[in-house]
Symmetry: C2
Subunit: 305 residues, 2 copies
């Protein structure tokens, strides 16, 4: 049994603006989906969602991965076990992580010879099959790890302060939110277009700040980015609530991460107050996870179990 | 005894941006400060703050008004009674209203012959004496009423939907908030300057929408304006809380009005749901007032008591 894992990600800057070609900065986080694979007589996929065979409804990503990998190897029976630290559908890239880790696990088990670039590319193909118009960002960052400037895929320095994620546990549809922004943009182009380029501009400013490890200044920009996200209609009562809870308890910064509406917010914190901020988020009704940036993308966890 | 009243105001668009010469739209609201004056043997000022003589600490605006009006008339003894529907220091222009109403009451009692323009100008002088660097907006709108585009002082059509004000009852210092925005602007000019001009641009767009009575579209712009205010750091947990409570209970729009930090938010509502929105604001911990736009600025309420 081979086990591979792949990380989730948060957006430090640029969600939504990236849809319009603006720059964004994504940061892989040490919250991983582990996928274990072993040869078997039949196809079995086990996860928190249930135990199925090839099933494009319950396990769409893994089912498409198996079919795709059958092009590279003679995969008949396979048992796949998925364990994830990433809340599903919360904007942390859980679908990218399970896709990337599954591809790599099968790649290694069947010696398919896919490079890391191939894994990222294949994972993006799978996400497009399932979601329609998926961006390559999540799958790329999950495969490569680190801090990545999108769309140029430029690796930046690592973020080494604690990162606290707050989950509203409220479902939101990325497709719907992206559609709402597009609608607002077409209704008020002279208002919304400058907001989107302003968000893009922040990533450009932040690049050198990341190199300097100047988290205080990065944080001020993230807080501005939060307001701009709220301005284009992707905020919510729950998100603002967690954002202000984090800021008011001493976070360096706090903003929505991902599509907004519901899902998650992210806070940068100091070494000594990550726990306080996590508690404040919990007290405000969110679910908090303390994590950190990870240099490693998809990786082999174990060759034997 | 002569009684005059003057209204407070809300910003539909443009607070903070107006400091940098951008356009803003202010709307006089039917929440008034009434000032009654009668000749007396001594100077007596009565308000919710206490009963004093000339007192530049407890009644700075009215004390300066008396001294200023002594230039136009032989005012020795005077009794002034102040009653206000406007919460003090909450960004609704309570100091402008008391100043304007006092000037006009003394103007009429002593037949000083000041025109409405003179009243506005004199009131602005008084606000500058007390506050240092006061803008002429509050005193102008309180004197003239209506809906006013700043800085050109252009009168727009009236807003005829209900207006709900939500007070966080949290003190905030306008001076400090304006200073914080200036600091953020000097730290990130290429980010903050476009935000301020974007806010200004909204007033330009809104002018024709006000003429058309298109409150739905005005509301969308106000909601964008709210996020932009949050982005420049003048939001707060309490304000966001009331803003989302109003929106989620069906308000057309909801945003900060005034300097932010604490103070008030304002919502436009439909005729049939102003009560619901007021209740939602109260349930979220705010103090709600249902009001409406008023065409009348300073006015004579009564010549006899």
């Amino acid at each position: 049994m081979i086990t591979c894992s792949a990380p989730g990600k948060v957006y430090l800057f640029g969600e939504h603006a990236v849809v319009y070609g603006e720059n964004a900065i994504c940061c892989a986080v040490e919250l991983r989906t582990k996928v274990s694979v072993e040869k078997s007589n039949e196809i079995i996929i086990e996860s928190a969602l249930g135990c199925t065979g090839l099933d494009h409804k319950i396990h769409p990503y893994v089912s498409y991965v198996i079919e795709k990998m059958q092009q590279f190897a003679d995969i008949k029976g396979i048992r796949i076990i998925i364990k994830s630290e990433l809340p599903i559908g919360s904007g942390l890239g859980s679908s990218a992580a399970v896709t990337v880790a599954s591809i790599q696990a099968l790649n290694l088990l069947f010696d398919c010879g896919l490079s890391q670039e191939d894994v990222a590319k294949t994972a993006h193909e799978i996400e497009r099959m399932v979601q329609g118009n998926a961006s390559p960002t999540d799958t790329y960052v999950s495969t490569m790890g680190g801090v990545v400037m999108i769309p140029l895929k430029k690796k930046l320095d690592l973020i080494d302060c604690p990162i606290v994620v707050g989950n509203t546990n409220k479902f939101s549809s990325t497709k719907e939110l992206v559609g709402n922004v597009a609608k607002l943009k077409s209704e008020f182009p002279c208002i919304v277009e400058p907001i989107l380029s302003n968000i893009g501009q922040m990533s450009v400013l932040a690049e050198s700040l990341v190199a300097q490890g100047d988290y205080e200044t990065i944080g001020k920009l993230m807080n501005i980015n939060q307001g701009l996200l709220d301005s284009i209609g992707v905020g919510s009562a729950e998100l603002s609530n967690l954002v202000y809870a984090a800021r008011n308890s001493g976070a360096i910064s706090a903003k929505i991460t991902g599509a907004g509406g519901g899902g998650c917010m992210v806070a940068l914190t100091r070494e000594d107050n990550a726990e306080d901020i996590a508690k404040a988020i919990e007290n405000a009704g969110g679910e908090a996870i303390i994590t950190k940036n990870t240099e490693e993308g998809v990786r082999l966890e174990s060759l034997h179990g």
